[in-house]
């Protein structure tokens, strides 16, 4: 066999390629099984960028399902709590054009937290069951209260409350949350060359 191959260089080359192909193919096949990635890594990365309010405004039951939908090609502009900043981050990650927020799903608002008017609470536990992050404390027939630091302001507790005793109040209140704003952009448009101004006045 070897002797025959030595006299037939064309078949020798084919045999060598065949051999190499099958060896590397087997190696790749093994690696694909051995180092298999569980789940969709892209959807994990997308989920890390979403604000985790779990509000469902995007039309999916939580941030993870939406991140999976985006990984499958859904639009990136359906998250009002994340707003422009999240859309920009998603666009950078997925290397797509950022789009304006889809108004159908809501508008970007100031971050809020739920606040229970405790005198009116009847202790029905309905809001506790609705809260996606277990941020409401209480038991049947006793007053409930919101752990403000854990509340995402998703407003899912508002609807089930039978006595309407839950308000959403701005989260970032007071001097501790203030920081300098960017200066107003007062720059005039730059005239690239002097004649630009001339053409504009002429027109």
């Amino acid at each position: 066999m070897v002797g025959w191959l030595a006299t037939e260089p064309l078949f020798a080359a084919l045999a060598a390629l065949l051999l190499l192909g099958s060896v590397f193919g087997a190696l790749l096949g093994y690696a694909a099984i051995r180092f298999r990635v569980e789940g969709n890594p892209i959807s994990e990365q997308i989920n890390a960028l979403l604000p985790q309010t779990q509000c469902g405004q995007c039309g999916y039951p939580g941030c993870r399902p939406y991140s999976e939908a985006i990984a499958e090609g859904d639009a990136i502009n359906k998250c009002p709590p994340g707003g422009e900043e999240t859309i920009q981050a998603l666009a950078d990650l997925l290397d797509v054009e950022p789009q304006p927020l889809d108004a159908e799903h809501g508008v970007e608002k100031e971050p809020v937290v739920a606040w229970i008017r405790e005198a009116e609470c009847i202790g029905c536990t309905k809001c506790i069951q609705a809260c996606p992050v277990d941020a409401i404390l209480g038991a049947a027939k006793v007053m409930h209260t919101v752990i403000a630091d854990e509340c995402t302001g998703c407003d899912l507790c508002l609807e089930p409350c039978p006595v309407d005793c839950i308000d959403l109040i701005p989260r970032k209140q007071g001097i501790g949350f203030w920081h300098w704003p960017l200066p107003e952009d007062r720059l005039r448009p730059i005239e690239v060359i002097a004649t630009d101004a001339a053409t504009r006045t002429a027109a």
Partner: protein, 509 residues
């Protein structure tokens, strides 16, 4: 003679320090009421421990520290607490914050203090606690709780205590006056601080435009033959930045993102050292501070020992303030200070200067023009940053690049904006960018926390559902077993029972 090093960049703005006659302290009348913010320092606000309507004596604790990064607030004189509510404070935002209003009674009665005169025999931790209880926070401008600086921990041994008497910002002469008037207390306070820190060498650094202060401090050192070195160095703005003065006097650089304690140095303001001396020797809390009142809109610019909580307007009126149409009052100096929007705001532990300039003296900022990439800002930057690049990235909100260009090493001294020929408010861009980055970091932490909680809840719900399902299956299996052993079909039995009940009901009426 100590070798004096030089820092990158820096500028030489007009000093205008003689205006407020450094070295003299002008006594001014006590205002009818004091407004004491609960947060005069960096960190958590103090918690009020008095009630509205209560009479208090000078030196009494009005609000206690709420944690490690917090210091208490004391009454600067005797009087009655009138309110605990939101009041305008001196802050760049112009927002209000919780304050205690104290109506003064003019008696100026004080509680009895207990000092630690034998501090040399005392544990550093006890002395540091005394410093905290005296309400002392860094008096140079940042208001960092001093007790925190005094306890850097065993992994950061301190070799050098540096008293930063640079006061490089134009107009301000509060530290200059303090060093001239309180030189003895300053030396004693410095010695106490070195004892608390376990520092071997002590250095007092003063810029060479304050010859009287240098002479006074040197005389005080010579008098008691203290092992303290007084060093002077050429005047340049911003030599007084903590990292800058350390480099000038030791040649060492504080690592990026680090603190001076990382290289064995603690840097404190002379005002802080004097406050520590009073707290340890006399047990007296921090209730007063020296404030420079200056600017050409004042007819008698001066330095004064002001009660904390004195409304700014009260001080300015006492020194012949003639407000112009568009009068600005600047809290701090002309380089790093900010305009106060409401002059009812009070003097706090960090108020070193109140500047009321005329419009010709300190004109309003000009219209910004486009950046021409001249590079003057990079030449002026004392932190060797690239202000121009930071400006572009701050506009583009590119947080990655801002971090890569070391935005957080910026000390916001304003040297870049001062030299900018296009009058771009560069520092405001950096402050805004820093705020945005801190905000996004906080939001990221919040969302990570929410994700963990959401996933934990999902898991719990799934487990509960599985447990219910298992229970149901077990019940079903048990019922089936029962049926097999009894030989009766449970479903059939239930139907029989229902039928029997119905028949009974039908028969009854």
């Amino acid at each position: 003679m100590r070798a004096i090093h030089t820092i990158h960049g820096g500028i030489h703005p007009p000093e205008r320090k003689a205006l407020s006659q450094p070295g003299k302290l002008q006594p001014l009348a006590l205002p009818p009421s004091l407004v004491l913010p609960l947060n005069q320092h960096l960190g958590g606000p103090a918690r009020p421990v008095i009630n509205v309507g209560e009479s208090v004596l000078g030196g009494q604790v009005l609000a206690e520290a709420s944690g490690v990064m917090s210091v208490p607030v004391h009454a600067p004189t005797s009087g009655t607490v009138r309110a605990i509510e939101r009041r305008p404070i001196a802050h760049a935002s112009g927002l209000e914050d919780i304050c205690i209003e104290l109506e003064t009674d003019g008696q100026d009665q004080w509680v009895a203090f207990e000092g630690i005169p034998h501090w040399r025999d005392c544990e550093p931790a006890i002395l540091a606690e005394q410093v905290r209880n005296a309400g002392i926070a860094g008096m140079g401008g940042a208001g960092f709780p001093t007790a925190v600086k005094l306890t850097p921990g065993p992994q950061r041994p301190i070799e050098l205590l540096l008293i930063n008497g640079t006061e490089c910002e134009p107009y301000i002469t509060a530290d200059d006056t303090l060093m001239q008037r309180y030189a003895d207390q300053l030396i004693e306070g410095t010695t106490i601080l070195a004892h608390i820190l376990g520092a071997d060498s002590i250095l007092i650094g003063i810029e060479d435009n304050k010859p009287e202060a240098i002479a006074c401090v040197q005389a005080a050192v010579d008098q008691i033959d203290a092992p303290i070195e007084v060093a002077s160095f050429p005047t340049k703005y911003p030599s007084g930045g903590e990292k800058q003065v350390i480099e000038i006097l030791t040649g060492m650089q504080v690592p990026s993102g680090g603190i001076p304690a990382d290289i064995g140095i603690v840097c404190l303001n002379p005002g802080t050292a004097v406050a520590v001396q009073q707290a340890i020797i006399e047990g007296k809390p921090l209730t007063h501070r020296i404030v420079t009142l200056t600017g050409e809109a004042l007819s008698q610019p001066c330095n004064t020992l002001a009660c904390l909580g004195t409304p700014i307007a009260h001080l300015l009126r006492a020194v012949g303030w003639a407000p112009e149409g568009q009068q600005r009052v600047i809290h701090g100096g002309p380089m790093m200070g900010f305009a106060v929007s409401n002059l009812d705001a009070p003097v706090t532990k960090i108020t070193n200067c109140l500047l009321a300039p005329t419009e010709s003296e300190l004109p309003l900022p000009e219209e910004p023009q486009p950046c021409i990439r001249c590079g003057h800002c990079a030449e002026a930057c004392p932190a060797s940053l690239l202000p121009q690049q930071l400006y572009w990235y701050a506009r583009a909100k590119d947080q990655e690049q801002l971090a890569a260009h070391r935005l957080f090493d910026c000390i916001e001294c304003g040297a870049c904006a001062y030299v900018c020929p296009s009058h771009i408010p560069l520092v405001q861009y950096y402050r805004a960018a820093k705020g945005q980055i801190r905000d996004s970091e906080q939001e990221r932490k919040r969302s990570d926390n929410s994700r963990a909680r959401f996933e934990a809840r999902e898991q719990r719900l799934e487990e509960e559902a599985a447990a219910r399902e298992a229970k149901r299956a077990a019940r079903k299996a048990a019922a089936q077993q029962q049926a097999e052993s009894d030989g009766v079909d449970p479903v059939q039995a239930a139907i029989e029972r229902a039928k029997a009940k119905k028949a009974q009901q039908d028969a009854a009426p």
